[in-house]
């Protein structure tokens, strides 16, 4: 393989710079351009997220300031790591150790002090390269012939040979064969990577959690978990990174929700009184271990866990295992035992939902769908947890799962998309009964959404809610949700998300999200049922819900994630956006 100039560095590295200071933004842009990078600038964190979500896989690295008016830089950092799994470099004029530490804790791959120098910027490509190396390492454990493709795709756009030259010689020896093949396959089309990456399916995550429980939160370690889980092909690294994310996520979630839920906890969705309060607060006390406490007193609770895959596990999907407690709430301590989830990755969260205040005669069939998806380029998928109580009579809009789009296998993601699309977390709950009954639910739902809103950060592409005869569907891209005011207001919701959906629908990634997973999961999960769903403490950032009085499908509005997801008409899905969950 002809080796190019060793001093060449990756031209065309695609950088997104986020800084609220226009002067700095201009300077950084110029500096990065001088490094021959491909620069996009952004003055607001929220816009940056939007850009990243819309143009997934169009960026290699993000540089962001820490102090920004619309969103804390650390939060942005987490969100990006979570949703897109891109390396993020933080910048600040403040070089205090504690700040830098915080940056590292939140996943920054570097922390630059302002004023930033050209030479520092010249080297940022190393973070991208390093990440790709990690990916390759993981993949190596799975399917060696794919490694090449992925690795090759990983350095797409770079001055690859230059990169190879710069690589650590030991690493290069290991990769020697790959390099050769890489060079040989330079001209081949790498668009058909069939990747075997670790997919943290609901099942897998359940096993993970079980293992964590069994070992005991304090003593948990990746090796022990791995052994207990006993999954062929799962590596210690997979588990380690999943664990790390889980831990960080939980602790963050706790902190955030504690305050938020203080107030939100007051909202009692259920007619049953305070004991039914969805009390995330009590769930999230200091220790993740106390998570389950809040559930004890609730007769019917639903816990949902959302796991976001470790950024290092680019191909991990996140799934939200939804536990449906039985009447006694004993299921709380089942498979997903929050108490033992203390050492979880930063991305997991636990939601518990209390019983919805519905008329007794109303049959509550809740479908809680928590879907968390994070996936890296060539892997589809998202795992979907769904416990629908399917009422096929009411399938007008929401058919049954068979209508769901085919799995991503049919829509292979082109390699080279090494960074995961934003995870999608959607929560759906179906409520049977009259629309008017829903109005009871709604305010609390709103409350939930609001209270959880900062906590939930997810790209929720769509929200569909169906109520009895009416279909409340809302599709939403993260920033477009507006509070659910009341059923009547639902009708006024705007449909501009169609654009987003369209985008998603057409994107390759979107196809991945589809229902295939749903279909698969459905089989597994059909036995579950959420009896009571109280969204009192689930803050969902604004959600556009609109109600169709004639259970009319709203084509185009159904979101990408669910594609034509069909849940029974009782299904109500609320994508969780803006996660405090992941914040």
């Amino acid at each position: 393989m002809a080796l190019a100039d060793a001093t060449a560095f990756p031209y065309g590295l695609r950088v997104l710079v986020v800084d609220d200071d226009p002067t700095w933004l201009k300077i950084l842009e110029k500096m990065l351009r001088k490094c021959s990078y491909d620069v996009t600038t952004c003055g607001l964190a929220s816009i940056a997220l939007q850009i990243l979500r819309e143009r997934r896989n169009k960026f290699d690295i993000v540089i962001s300031d820490v102090n920004m008016p619309d969103m804390d830089g650390f939060k942005l950092l987490e969100l990006i790591g979570l949703e897109m799994d891109l390396p993020v470099i933080m910048m600040s004029i403040d070089g205090e150790t504690s700040r830098v530490m915080k940056g590292v804790q939140h996943g920054a791959c570097d922390y630059l002090l302002k004023p930033v120098r050209m030479k520092e910027l010249r080297n940022i490509w190393q973070h991208v390269y390093r990440k790709k190396m990690h990916e390759v390492k993981e993949i190596e454990g799975n399917d060696s012939c794919d490694d090449l493709q992925i690795f090759r795709n990983g350095v797409e756009g770079f001055d690859e040979r230059g990169l190879f030259m710069r690589a650590d010689s030991d690493t290069m020896r290991k990769r020697k064969d790959m390099d050769k093949d890489h060079a040989d396959q330079d001209s081949s089309d790498g668009a058909t990577v069939k990747k075997a990456r670790v997919v943290w399916s609901v099942d897998l995550h359940q096993k993970f959690v079980n293992a964590v429980n069994q070992i005991g939160f304090d003593k948990v370690g990746p090796k022990k978990i791995l052994d207990l889980m006993n999954i062929p092909g799962l590596t210690r690294e997979n588990v380690a990174s999943h664990l790390q994310k889980y831990r960080l996520y939980l602790s963050r979630l706790q902190k955030q929700n504690e305050e938020r839920i203080m107030g939100a906890a007051r909202q009692d969705f259920s007619h049953k009184g305070p004991s039914d309060n969805l009390n995330l607060r009590s769930s999230f006390q200091e220790q993740p271990g106390n998570l389950s406490n809040g559930f004890q007193h609730s007769s019917q609770k639903i816990q949902a866990q959302i796991n976001i895959p470790d950024p290092h596990l680019d191909d991990t999907k996140t799934s939200v295992p939804l536990k449906v407690p039985d009447k006694n709430g004993t299921s709380v301590s089942d498979a997903v035992d929050p108490q033992n989830m203390t050492s979880a990755s930063p991305l997991s969260g636990v939601f518990s939902f209390e019983r919805m205040p519905v008329n007794q005669d109303r049959k509550l069939s809740e479908t809680m769908i928590l879907e968390c998806q994070s996936w890296s380029g060539s892997v589809p998928p998202k795992q979907f947890m769904q416990y629908p109580k399917h009422n096929h009579e009411r399938c007008d809009l929401l058919g049954d799962y068979s209508c769901l789009p085919k799995p991503d296998l049919e829509h292979p993601i082109a390699p080279g998309h090494l960074y995961a699309p934003p995870p999608v977390i959607s929560m759906s709950c179906s409520v049977e009964g009259d629309v008017r009954d829903f109005s009871d639910v709604k305010p609390d739902l709103l409350g939930c959404m609001k209270s959880l809103s900062p906590a939930l950060t997810c790209t929720v592409e769509s929200v569909s809610a169906q109520l009895s005869d009416s279909v409340v569907t809302s599709t939403n891209s993260d920033q477009k949700f507006s509070s659910v005011e009341g059923l009547s207001s639902i009708k006024d919701c705007d449909f501009d998300q169609e654009r987003n959906q369209a985008t998603l629908l057409t994107s390759e990634e979107a196809s991945i999200i589809c229902g295939t997973d749903l279909t698969c999961l459905h089989d597994e999960l059909s036995g579950y049922q959420l009896q009571g769903v109280s969204f009192g403490n689930i803050g969902l950032s604004s959600i556009d819900l609109f109600q169709c009085n004639d259970a009319m499908a709203l084509p185009g509005l159904h979101n990408n994630w669910y594609d034509d997801v069909e849940f029974s008409s009782e299904t109500m899905e609320f994508p969780l956006l803006d996660g405090g969950l992941f914040a």
């Binding site: 609220d20 200071d21 226009p22 002067t23 700095w24 201009k26 300077i27 110029k30 500096m31 351009r33 001088k34 300031d65 102090n67 008016p69 600040s92 004029i93 403040d94 302002k114 004023p115 120098r117 050209m118």
Partner: protein
């Protein structure tokens, strides 16, 4: 027109800005970024800085009025201004910003007020000097490359 004279004047002006501590090395970095693709880069950046910093100063001013003793808020706004100063190397102004933040930390309202006035003064003074500088440069028609002895100022 005596271009070389103009250039000398501009160089001298710049040197004195450095010597007096108005500017630091970051300013050189900004000027170095200037190239054929953006021949007026330095001036554009400086203009942008003054426009933005005027807003930030006004934010602080409003906060001082509307939120008495809200040191956290004052500090946050000043932090933004300080960050901005660092972009073009506005050294003296940055020092005053830091001083203001110290007073905030001490809960010293009087100190904050005094310090804020100084920030505004430095801002005004720097703006004036840089405007004169760029005007000279425009007149001279080209960027002045200074070679200063080691010490404060640009290092080549």
């Amino acid at each position: 027109m005596d271009y070389s004279n103009l250039r000398r004047q501009a160089a001298s002006m710049k040197k004195s800005l450095f010597d007096q501590g108005y500017l630091d090395e970051q300013f050189c970095q900004v000027e170095d970024l200037q190239d054929e693709a953006s021949p007026n880069f330095a001036e554009e950046v400086v203009t942008l800085f003054f426009k933005d910093s005027a807003k930030l100063i006004s934010n602080v001013e409003q906060a001082l009025e509307k939120y008495p003793k809200d040191f956290n808020r004052w500090d946050a706004y000043m932090q933004q201004l300080k960050g901005s100063c660092s972009s073009i190397g506005a050294s003296r102004m940055k020092s005053e910003c830091m001083s203001f933040r110290d007073y905030c930390g001490q809960g010293n309202v009087e100190g904050c007020m005094r310090s804020f006035q100084k920030v505004k003064r430095e801002h005004g003074a720097l703006r004036q000097k840089l405007e004169a500088y760029f005007q000279l440069l425009r007149q001279a028609g080209q960027l002045v490359l200074l070679e200063l002895p080691p010490g404060p100022g640009c290092k080549n």
